[in-house]
């Protein structure tokens, strides 16, 4: 292995870990704040460190501190399988985290003629890894619910288990249809396939090529991650908190964080399979590499405009109302952020000028393209996470039998039909 290969491998691993773990506080914040804004109210917005609220993200860290400091209550009625009871949340968390590791964040970067994967686990069977590891998460839920010796927990666990069975089938069958379409099990090759166009106009994204599969896959993903409207396993209005009823402090937080990591992973997989992964529509990596100077030239005016509008929005919104006497350091925060953002914009502008002057086959261009693709991926990931949150605060929860009905009677036959149609078309075209 060359030095470059090691550096790329380490950096992609760090990036994956950061994207999965640092996304937890951001997602918790986004969920609470998004919920507030969608329901015309504010959000936890007072917590700050020296006046810096970061729009409320600090609250998530305060929550973590609270959960760590909390009494580690251990229910005395649990006699058997204590170690498994303690391990169960970790299984769920680890499964969600590991499943994220096969997502490609950018196309293979070519350094000195060596093609390197920008993927934490550089494997070629990405989708199988995801299906195998992602499904283990429910084992942690079943263990936790069963060993809690609590009827609500047991109900929650059995709901989670049977829901997983009901939706893993349509999920797997849509994946089969997508495998027939893409003719690969490698996530990165799937994204490369999606860089092309269909009929010369539309980007060949999975959702354009296979709209039915995309809908079924997204619905099944919502069920897999136990998110609303399929959150029957928690079902706080019916069964207290489902499988987490007996869990406290950090054990509970493990389940809670696992849920958000799973949601993040689900978003990443949906993007990679159906929304062109790290690619912009109509732009393949080769095209981007050749014409990066043009992209940089386009980005140069767009970036300051975007930053200008962001600062204007921040100045308008990051202030207290007239009725509140103390400013709480918001003016100072706005000032600091304005300065920092301006400096960052200037640095990026300089880098862009440097990149425009570089020849298109230089290493700098390849790195810039990779960073650009990572940025596109992160933006898409955040948008899809926002979609998950939007759905949660829009739809009421399905009744449990309706969940099963939808899975077994509609999604399963539809995904089977989809396979046949896909196979016929693929055979007919080739």
């Amino acid at each position: 292995m060359s030095m470059a290969a090691i550096i790329v491998a380490v950096l992609s691993f760090v990036l994956a870990a950061l994207l999965a773990l640092m996304m937890i506080p951001v997602l918790v914040w986004l969920e609470r704040r998004g919920a507030g804004l969608m329901q015309d109210r504010l959000w936890p917005n007072r917590t700050n460190v020296g006046g810096f609220r970061l729009g409320g993200v600090v609250q998530s860290f305060a929550d973590v501190v609270k959960l760590v400091m909390k009494e580690e209550y251990y229910p005395s009625h649990i006699k058997m399988g204590k170690w498994l009871y303690m391990l169960a949340p970790a299984i769920t968390f680890a499964a969600a985290l590991l499943a994220f590791m096969v997502i490609p964040f950018a196309d293979n970067i070519v350094i000195d003629g060596e093609s390197l994967r920008v993927q934490a686990l550089p494997v070629e069977y990405g989708i199988f890894w995801y299906m195998a590891i992602g499904a283990i998460g429910v084992v942690g839920i079943v263990f936790g619910g069963w060993l809690s010796h609590n009827k609500y927990s047991l109900l929650g666990a059995s709901r989670a288990g049977s829901q997983m069975l009901g939706y893993e089938l349509p999920l797997g069958l849509t994946v089969v249809a997508m495998l027939i379409t893409y003719n690969t099990i490698d996530f990165n090759a799937m994204v490369q396939w999606q860089s092309a166009t269909v009929f010369g106009i539309f980007p060949a994204w999975g959702i354009v090529v296979q709209p039915l599969a995309a809908v079924i896959f997204i619905i099944a993903m919502f069920a897999e991650t136990n998110r609303a409207p399929f959150s029957v396993a928690e079902g706080e209005s019916e069964i207290v908190a489902g499988f987490m009823t007996e869990y406290t402090a950090m054990k509970f937080a493990m389940y809670f964080m696992g849920e958000y990591v799973a949601m993040n992973t689900a978003s990443a997989v949906i993007i990679t399979m159906f929304f062109g992964g790290y690619q912009l529509p109509w732009v393949s990596t080769g095209y981007l590499l050749e014409n990066f100077a043009i992209f940089a030239a386009v980005m140069m005016p767009l970036l300051p405009i975007g930053v200008f509008y962001f600062i204007r929005w921040m100045r308008k919104n990051n202030r207290v109302r007239a009725s509140v006497s103390s400013d709480g350091g918001r003016l100072f925060e706005t000032k600091v952020f304005t300065i920092v953002l301006t400096i960052m914009t200037l640095i990026i502008e300089m880098l862009l000028i440097y990149l425009i002057l570089l020849p298109s086959d230089a290493l700098g261009t390849a790195i810039a393209v990779t960073i650009f693709q990572i940025a596109v991926f992160v933006v898409k990931l955040m948008l899809f996470n926002l979609f998950f949150i939007l759905v949660r605060w829009t739809l009421p929860r399905f009744r449990y039998d309706q969940v099963q009905h939808l899975g077994w009677y509609y999604l399963l036959p539809l995904s089977l039909i989809n396979i046949f149609v896909t196979a016929l078309i693929v055979v007919g075209v080739s």
């Binding site: 804004l37 969608m38 109302r321 509140v324 605060w393 829009t394």
Partner: protein
């Protein structure tokens, strides 16, 4: 007699309803519009910045913290009849009666305490009182303390609470 029948349209039979996705789209549109509106101007959201802003819409019927009313000579209106303590579903009113020697009445409470941690603020004590001696019209909705004893309101504290809606003295005992 003419039968009054209202025929309610049955939803959920058309293909559009059964698909469910158009309805989800409509719902998402509404929440997304609220999100965008509120993100673009979060100070326009109609909320109360509690505790800087205090609620102004507490009505006379609001059951706040209790108080003991006074007679016109500022003495306690309560005659320690134990009606409130009997009516109390959470048994949180503790009364010790004593003889009243100032010829205004025969009996008065020596101790009148309400454990507000036990109290469920149902207002039965107010309804049970024959002398209009206990009221819940203080408009006080938040009570804080450092230990449990702080939440047991004694007679002096209850007498010190002011009514928020003008009626200061007991109407039944002048």
């Amino acid at each position: 007699m003419e039968k009054k029948i209202k025929i309610v349209p049955r939803y959920g039979v058309s293909l559009k309803d059964k698909l469910y996705l158009p309805a989800i789209y409509e719902g998402l549109k509404i929440t997304f519009k609220h999100l965008i509106d509120n993100v673009s101007d979060s100070n326009a959201i109609d909320v109360l910045e509690y505790p800087e802003e205090q609620p102004t819409d507490i009505t006379e019927r609001y059951r706040g913290l209790h108080r003991l009313t006074h007679r016109e000579d500022d003495s306690v209106a309560c005659v320690a009849c134990f009606m409130c303590a009997t009516a109390c579903p959470s048994n949180c009113i503790f009364i010790e009666a004593t003889e009243r020697t100032d010829n205004v009445d025969e009996k008065m409470p020596k101790r009148f305490a309400i454990d507000t941690l036990e109290c469920i603020f149902c207002g039965y004590c107010v309804e049970a009182c024959p002398c209009d001696a206990i009221r819940m019209d203080t408009g006080i909705f938040s009570l804080t303390g450092k230990n449990r004893e702080d939440f047991v309101m004694e007679k002096e504290q209850l007498l010190a609470h002011k009514g928020a809606f003008g009626e200061e003295n007991s109407i039944a005992r002048k």
